[in-house]
């Protein structure tokens, strides 16, 4: 009996430890929601919009995790490609759903190129993929700025004065995307009470989820999992390790590009030089909040994470205002929480990895002793 409760205790402790981040978030949200004073329909509406807006981006992170490459900070590159696609459709004056599709088509080759490059570099930095992809995102941000701020309009033909800076070249800081604003969300209108449901966007996200589930079962998906388990073993069993890793980054980058197009079409305007740099941090934080780790993430983690993370993002400024009289405090708080969560998740992951390695060593020693 005592033994049983002991094991129960242990399992509860393990459960809490394994799900520390989501549990913390649920507690913080439970405190902040009543304090903020938002009504239930308003919250539901906001959450539905935010899930539609962000899920695609967060799902794009799943493939490199599958291949054991950790959080792909390089998804920012895909976001840049998506933004370049959007700049071009605004220049060409295309409107509606065709514009979205065209932007996706334009972004694809750019994403593939950037993803290929990122994957090549990451293959040279095995074991430190995350910090490397993080620096790649900074590096490419410089290249992106060079192209968009100096080459567009001077080398690359852009003539639309609405998006061009007054000096004649370079894209404006903020581009109005009125031509595609909410086209996907409003494609199939559905209204329940006072809440609008963006059905078409959810259909697209569902399609992507099915793709991910299907992809896991394909040969390449299985290869990726083998590579994530042990690169050397995978190599010996005839899997092209480098090639598989490269492919996972390319897929992630392309998906991130599409995700960014969906995200920005929902926002309705594009912050040309900042939108992509924030999106990486927020997407990764959301995924980790959902209980994913650097080595393991599921579609369930994505949705739980997006809901919890964006719930806090939505309510915290108002909660800060009601509690301390300063909305600014709430804003700082949510930034702190998103960075804090990533820190905790990374630390827990590294500690677990070390513990597993130690345990592996001990069992091996024991096995040898028994012989």
């Amino acid at each position: 009996m005592i033994k049983k409760t002991l094991s129960q205790d242990k399992s509860i402790k393990e459960f809490v430890l394994n799900n520390l981040v989501p549990i913390m978030f649920i507690v913080i949200c439970a405190i902040c929601i009543p304090v903020s004073g938002y009504s239930a329909p308003a919250l539901v509406q906001e959450m539905l919009t935010r899930i539609a807006r962000n899920s695609f981006l967060v799902i794009s992170l799943l493939v490199p995790i599958m291949a054991g490459m950790g959080m792909n900070f390089g998804m920012t590159l895909g976001a840049m490609a998506g933004q370049i696609g959007l700049i071009f459709i605004t220049e060409w004056g295309v409107v509606g759903i065709p514009a979205l599709v065209l932007a996706a088509i334009v972004s694809t080759p750019i994403s593939i190129l950037l993803g290929w490059m990122c994957g090549k570099i990451l293959n040279n930095a095995k074991g430190r993929e995350m910090v490397t992809s993080y620096i790649i995102s900074f590096f490419m941000n410089g290249v992106y700025q060079f192209i968009v701020l100096y080459c567009m309009g001077s080398v690359i033909p852009i003539k639309n004065s609405a998006i061009l800076l007054p000096r004649g070249y370079g894209i404006r800081n903020s581009v109005n995307l009125i031509n595609i604003r909410r086209v996907l969300d409003n494609l199939i209108p559905l209204r329940i009470g006072t809440v609008n449901v963006p059905v078409a966007t959810y259909l697209v996200i569902a399609l992507l989820c099915f793709f991910i589930i299907w992809f896991r079962k394909t040969k390449i998906g299985q290869d990726m999992r083998a590579v994530s388990q042990d690169m050397e073993v995978a190599r010996r069993s005839g899997i092209k390790v480098e090639h598989t890793r490269l492919l996972s980054v390319i897929i992630s980058t392309v998906l991130a590009g599409y995700g960014m197009i969906i995200y920005l079409s929902n926002m309705g305007s594009m912050n040309t030089y900042n939108a992509h740099s924030q999106i990486g941090t927020f997407s990764i934080a959301a995924l980790l909040v959902g209980g994913a780790s650097v080595a393991k993430a599921s579609i369930g983690n994505v949705f739980l994470g997006v809901i919890l993370f964006h719930m806090l993002f939505y309510v915290s400024p108002q909660a800060g205002k009601n509690l301390f009289g300063q909305a600014q405090l709430g804003e700082y708080f949510r930034v702190f929480v998103s960075y804090g969560v990533i820190t905790i998740a990374l630390v827990l992951y590294e500690m677990k990895k070390r513990r597993a390695a130690k345990l592996g060593g001990l069992t091996l020693a024991k096995a040898q002793e028994e012989k």
């Binding site: 430190r128 993080y134 620096i135 900074f138 941000n141 701020l149 700082y332 990374l346 630390v347 990895k353």
Partner: protein
């Protein structure tokens, strides 16, 4: 020819490109109508501002903790010291001394906790360091609003509480080091005090690395198994290196502020680690190897590019592309260093 190739390989392509780039800037400068004297003054000035923060990279690289992307944590300690010294009403030269004294306990405490954390995540230090830095900066964003500072020069005028985003150090430690023994020759102005202060810290660091503890630190970084076999307590040496790094970061930001004239709070320290990291790498350091020479050469090259590019570029093509070039150069250098180490160990 073979010798040449080996030299290039050891020196590294990116470093060669950066050095050539800086050299071409210097050559072009007179033709573009840029005064070399003012550029040199700016470069030396910036060198003296940033040198200590680059020096802060050395201990952690030596002990094998990698590049200290968590420098903002040290900067936070420095900011606390600086603002507290002003709050307690110290003025003039004394305020700088008191700022260093007051920042020390914070730096020791933060560094100790940060070092303990890094000991538990060996192998993944750099990524976690980055986020420890970010998390601490954003946590302090809230604290700057909430802490009960009351010096009217520092808090927001209308509310009477919460620190301002930028605080002038005028009347406190503004230029205490830069103006000390300042030498002026025509356009050239040399902040001797700041340079001497940097030289002192650099010398202390060099001397420390040659003591028994310092040698142990290098051993831990270059060969941890050998270090353990020879009876060195790896974890405590690593913690010591992190504490040193954090304290140097704290002092570094104070030196920066006294020359710059302003304390930047809130989001100010967010990306301050990257220039320091890339500076030491440009100077020839790698992820697990760094010397004082690397610090001096790297800071000079990096700051040289940062000061020369805008002025030269502006007068040639009339657009300011310096920001873009700075981003590409500094991050490209870090990227190169990160991808190189695995090739060596392979």
């Amino acid at each position: 020819m073979n010798k040449m190739q080996r030299f290039i390989k050891e020196f590294g392509w990116p470093r060669l490109i950066i050095a050539a780039f800086l050299l071409s800037l210097v050559v072009i400068a007179p033709f573009a109508g840029v005064n070399i004297g003012t550029s040199l003054t700016d470069t030396i000035m910036r060198f003296s501002m940033n040198g200590v923060m680059v020096l802060a990279m050395v201990p952690m690289i030596h002990s094998g903790c990698g590049l200290n992307f968590g420098l903002p944590l040290g900067i936070i300690a420095g900011l606390l010291g600086g603002t507290l010294a002003m709050q307690f009403g110290f003025t003039g030269k004394l305020s700088f001394l008191m700022a260093i004294v007051l920042c020390t306990p914070f730096a020791l405490l933060f560094g100790w906790a940060y070092g303990k954390l890094l000991n538990r995540v060996k192998g993944g230090e750099m990524m976690i360091a980055t986020y420890v830095g970010f998390a601490s900066v954003s946590f302090m964003c809230m604290m700057w609003l909430l802490l009960p500072y009351s010096n009217p020069q520092m808090v927001w005028g209308y509310g009477g509480s919460g620190l301002r985003t930028t605080i002038s150090t005028e009347g406190y430690y503004y230029h205490v080091l830069s103006d000390f023994l300042n030498i002026k020759i025509g356009h050239l102005s040399i902040p001797t005090g700041s340079l001497l202060f940097f030289a002192l810290l650099a010398f202390l660091m060099w001397a420390f690395l040659h003591t028994k503890k310092g040698t142990a630190m290098t051993a831990v970084g270059s060969n941890p198994i050998y270090a353990r076999a020879s009876g060195i307590k790896i974890d405590s040496i690593r913690t010591l290196s992190v504490i040193m790094s954090t304290w140097l970061g704290a002092v570094g930001i104070l030196v920066y502020e006294q020359a710059f004239g302003f304390i930047q709070l809130y989001n100010g320290p967010f990306y301050m680690a990257l220039p320091a990291v890339s500076a030491i790498l440009i100077g020839g350091a790698s992820v697990n190897k760094a010397s004082i020479t690397n610090v001096i050469v790297g800071t000079f090259l990096f700051q040289g590019i940062v000061t020369m590019t805008p002025s030269v570029m502006n007068s040639i093509i009339h657009t300011d592309m310096s920001e873009v070039i700075r981003i590409i150069v500094s991050n490209g250098m870090i990227l190169y260093a990160l991808t190189r180490k695995t090739e060596e160990t392979r």
